[in-house]
Symmetry: C2
Subunit: 411 residues, 2 copies
């Protein structure tokens, strides 16, 4: 029997406790011994829980219990999760977390402590919820150099964008609907501003390239400026607009990492990932493109990923999983202004196409039947963002009013 | 340093040797020691290979070498692979294989020997080539009861069907093109008759449900009877025709397993998997649908999956991975005639729709603008196949000539 503790009894935490009860037999069969949930940490009371006798409000009850070998952290947020996790690892307990904020902010440090104390620090559920991605990347794709990762990593924004694309809903209405359906929080900033997706691409980039990438070193744009007009022009250009977290390996060893809405060609596998679903494309130098798809959030999908990590910890109480990356100083990250992508531009004025061609060289004008007479949308070829911004300034100086510009994904 | 041997220096085998050379540093970083390819077994001569000094034509050189801890079997076919693998496992060497024929025919026995000798028998590359699927299923989805698996498991047939759908090519022409491009073998029977897909769904079903499913207990239909007419009617019904390997868990504990071409709704994730690509949907009771997509074959994709297994073996020389299923007697398999699915029917005669309605009850007629006057295609609701066959006989007795019938996937 292996004793574990669960810190946090919210949506994911209660799901974890539930799976250990409902799937007891299957889990037993997989490791050959019982996993016993000995303690659950939460400040609230749960008198009606079948595990009511295991609750504690005191972290010391967990850290001082030598029988507890694996601790699940599903409290969320940085404090006190960071402190608790650190103390658990230092005390020789393995830790499993679904907390992407924690892993994105302190992953390298916590992995280093786990290495020193010969424990495991696993976080499959922190990216993609129930979609297997961390373990496939660290184990199945280990014989690949990862050339690129591009993902739809946030279900809330993908739901909103899908509603805009499929039903012609305005952003605000789609957001309200997402909130009503429980896909968006009352304060949706972390999702719609791209911060949640940023944490996840940071975790994947750290894993793929071996050096911690901190969220504040990644240029991040959300979807709040996306309009139905842009959605329609994208459609006419055989694309859909998706919030993409992307990281690429460059020839000089640097990485090009960004979170931004992008026009994704319909033929791309990521274009068909709709509503609250997530999808992650990993381009390996041996495998080519591999795509993982599924529910990126939700009680049981996320909890089942946490439980799988717990099982892995229980199988590796004496050995370590080789999940590790070193700390990073951001010097391996290309400044985002130097990153090159084709750009979509929507603008207003007289002779927009001619003026754009004079400044950008060749442009591809997007024809949309019901476009206003003085509006034009076009796509310019890939160039560093700084050069693009300069040319846009020239265009505006030439009397054109630029209404929006969005990156075009080369997927 | 861990010494390994590779049995077979064909497409995959030479890829494995290549990756151990080209990705040496990355692999070293992942396990902290060198993997040394000590012997390569092949009856042919490879004087120009950089590893020319490692070749042997004698299996005894491998089995008797106590330093060799992991053996890669990429010879293909059952003989002598089966005998060699068995002897390696019995001698305490872990084995990694990409040989789906071997795993589908003898998986249970080989896993049992591995258990007895405390070795590992891994076969990630046997299904889906470079797509991670065996490890995600056995580890990441361990906290799920698998309700269903449905996959496009054979790239050759998917290439042919895609060419029929997208370019209106006839089956024979598409097959010829696939052969020219190297996606189909000169003798394409194993692919186009569905046997290759059958082996793969057998492996996935054995893994998901814990009992070996042998290929000869699975009803298997290929794609040789699919016509362009059916492809067009499917299109009018918002579907594409795909060769699907499917297994479902039934309420009574039995499994419903089949390989057959099916009409797949356009909105399904599997509908967008085209050309030589593979895609596998796993429906877990906690995760919901998870889909894995990528190249299901090819030198480096397959070889990189083999190498990942080798690395895993090297990390687990003393412990065992909990990959296991017991032998099966086929009693847990629903007789295929009792399996229920909606059916697409194309038929010829007078008043086809009226006659079909009289026999089948409600039918959905598919309207296609350029259909011959006396031809009708329709879809009937799900019923056991035996009942469907009986009703089709009645329809034919009523003067209708049935041209084709294809299952409709409930994906």
């Amino acid at each position: 029997m292996v004793s574990i503790a669960i810190m946090g009894h919210g949506v994911v935490g209660s799901g974890v406790a539930e799976i250990f009860t409902t799937h007891k037999q299957k889990l037993y069969a997989s490791i050959g011994e019982e996993v016993y949930v000995k303690k659950i940490l939460d400040l609230r009371e749960f008198p009606d829980s079948p595990l009511a006798d295991r609750f504690t409000k005191n972290f010391e009850d967990i850290i001082n219990d030598l029988e507890i070998r694996v601790v699940v952290e599903v409290m969320g947020g940085l404090n006190p999760a960071y402190d608790f996790v650190k103390r658990c690892l230092k005390a020789g307990k393995s830790v499993v977390t679904s907390n992407k904020e924690l892993v994105a902010a302190h992953g390298a440090e916590l992995l280093e402590i786990a290495k020193e104390t010969n424990t495991n620090f696993l976080f499959e559920a922190s990216v993609g919820g129930g979609i297997p991605i961390i373990r496939p990347m660290s184990q199945c794709l280990v014989a690949n150099n990862v050339d690129e990762i591009a993902g739809i990593l946030n279900g809330t924004t993908n739901f909103i964008l899908t509603k805009m694309i499929e039903d012609g809903m305005q952003f605000d209405d789609a957001l309200k609907l997402a909130q009503e359906l429980g896909f968006a929080e009352r304060n949706p900033a972390a999702d719609i501003e791209g911060h949640d997706a940023c944490r996840k691409i940071c975790i994947l980039a750290s894993l793929a390239y071996g050096k911690h990438v901190y969220p504040d070193s990644v240029h991040t744009e959300g979807i709040t400026k996306i309009t139905l007009e842009d959605v329609r022009y994208a459609e006419a250009f055989h694309c859909v607009i998706k919030l993409i977290g992307s990281v690429k390996r460059l020839a000089d060893g640097k990485i090009d990492i960004i979170v931004a809405p992008m026009l994704v060609p319909n033929k791309s596998q990521l274009a068909n990932i709709d509503y609250e679903f997530n999808g992650i494309m990993v381009r390996g130098d041996c495998t080519g493109d591999v795509v993982f798809y599924g529910k990126g959030a939700g009680k049981l999908p996320t909890a089942s990923a946490v439980v799988a990590d717990v099982i892995d910890c229980c199988k590796h109480l004496k050995t370590r999983k080789f999940l590790y990356w070193a700390d990073g100083n951001g010097k391996n990250i290309l400044p985002w202004e130097e990153s090159s992508r084709a750009m979509y531009v929507r603008a207003n004025g007289s002779n927009v196409a001619e003026k754009a061609e004079k400044i950008f060289g060749e442009v591809t004008v997007i024809n949309k039947t019901d476009a206003p007479a003085d509006e034009k949308a076009f796509v310019v070829k890939a160039m560093p963002y700084s050069e693009f911004a300069e040319k846009i300034a020239q265009l505006e100086a030439d009397g054109v009013s630029v209404l929006s510009s969005i990156r075009v994904a080369d997927l």
